[in-house]
Symmetry: C2
Subunit: 251 residues, 2 copies
């Protein structure tokens, strides 16, 4: 987002143009919707012509893909900033804050959220390999939750399934995932597979409630999702052994 490009002046203005293209695309996305993010519209907004954009992106689809990856970075920024002021020993509050900020960011940036977490367009690369540098932003984002979760577990362990109680095929995948994360983040505690499973289940619930809200799929029953979200948080927290009354949202 605010990385200062290395190299000479030439590369600096080029990087600035790339940023302007992406910023313009993002503004069109937010204000007019995805179907308004055309190369011609972006160029028009920037006072140039569409083919000129091909000096910076090989195709419309590649621009989409980069916007998508950047979204994970923007979310990671928002989460890290929200956690910056919370002491490391308040493990419950840190996880809670991350979850609440995730929701608020999604509600504030619904189309960007859809870009990252909605149905991917055909041709967009799916995340299969965590070590792929193209998914560095996604990794950063994932690590925010992973770290907060690991710290909670270290400070206040809660009962989880034993490895033998988990279906072998699932245990194997959980193990691979845990080891990949451990390799990427040396500071992580060594988590039992049952904890990894609970982590993923909690993530599914957070994803579910936020995505349904942002995509409008809760409108059939709820007009204001705020309190339902808090109820969902309470129930997820219970699964993590957090039974004390949760600190309320910073409203």
């Amino acid at each position: 987002m605010s990385a200062i490009p290395a190299g000479g002046r030439r590369e600096r203005v080029r990087a600035a143009t790339v940023q302007e293209i992406k910023a313009t695309a993002r503004r069109l996305l937010a204000q007019e919707g995805p179907q308004a993010v055309t190369l011609r519209a972006i160029a028009r907004e920037m006072g140039m012509t569409a083919p000129g954009l091909y000096r910076y992106f090989p195709s419309h689809e590649d621009l989409w893909e980069e916007l998508c990856h950047d979204t994970y970075g923007a979310m990671a920024d928002a989460l890290e900033e929200a956690l910056a002021g919370i002491p490391g020993d308040q493990v419950e509050l840190r996880l809670l804050t991350a979850a609440r900020r995730f929701r608020s960011w999604a509600v504030e940036h619904p189309r960007d959220f859809g870009l990252a977490f909605g149905m991917p367009l055909p041709g967009l690369s799916q995340v299969k390999d965590l070590t792929d540098p193209a998914h560095l932003s996604g990794m950063r984002f994932a690590l925010v939750f992973t770290r907060a979760f690991g710290q909670l577990w270290s400070a206040r362990p809660f009962p989880v399934l034993q490895e033998e109680e988990i279906a072998p095929a699932l245990a194997e995948q959980l193990r691979r995932y845990r080891d990949a994360m451990a390799a990427a983040e040396p500071g992580l505690p060594d988590l039992p597979l049952g904890v990894v499973l609970v982590f993923l289940q909690a993530w599914v619930q957070l994803y579910g409630v936020v995505t349904m809200e942002v995509f409008g799929h809760l409108g059939f029953c709820l007009t204001d999702v705020q309190d339902f979200f808090e109820a969902q948080l309470t129930s997820v927290a219970a699964a993590l052994g957090i039974t004390r009354t949760l600190p309320g949202p910073t409203a």
Copy 2:
């Protein structure tokens, strides 16, 4: 899907053409992806020209919207068929079967699923009013789960929050939703608000895990979601007081 249109021959062939248009669109969607579902492509496949389609749909977007609504009907069909052979007194198995069929249908029809449950395009009407006849299919779909859930609660009640323990604003919305469903389905038992809350929370979890799988957002940690899905079902079932070993999937 298979409704026989009333009226004379003229209206019958017209209805048949509408069905052919939608079927062609759906085939293009499944085989080539959403960006391939253009009026010109549909017309080409049908051996006619694009403007002719305007005799049947006022715009491309309206066709999308109708496809979207039909998707709920197709899902309701699949769920009802899956439940048809299960005795009404096996309440846990019925709910479990509905959940599993929901996932399998989604995996088998990922793009159709995305049409109904992904990010809606701007301009597509959001479901706000359950009584709107345009959302009849959505209502049918929702009622499958609602009925199965209500029957489970009636047969084997489980502990839930008291009304006083639910945030008032949330309780009010739950009440409105419950009453709307009760009005649409006279046979439903009178559910406490806490049960409605648990129902929605269970639905969020089902939506979350299925949507993440179909949209490829579990690829970063899992290669085969089957066992994880079953683990998720087990944990949801526990929240519904189902502690007995779950009957395995019909594999």
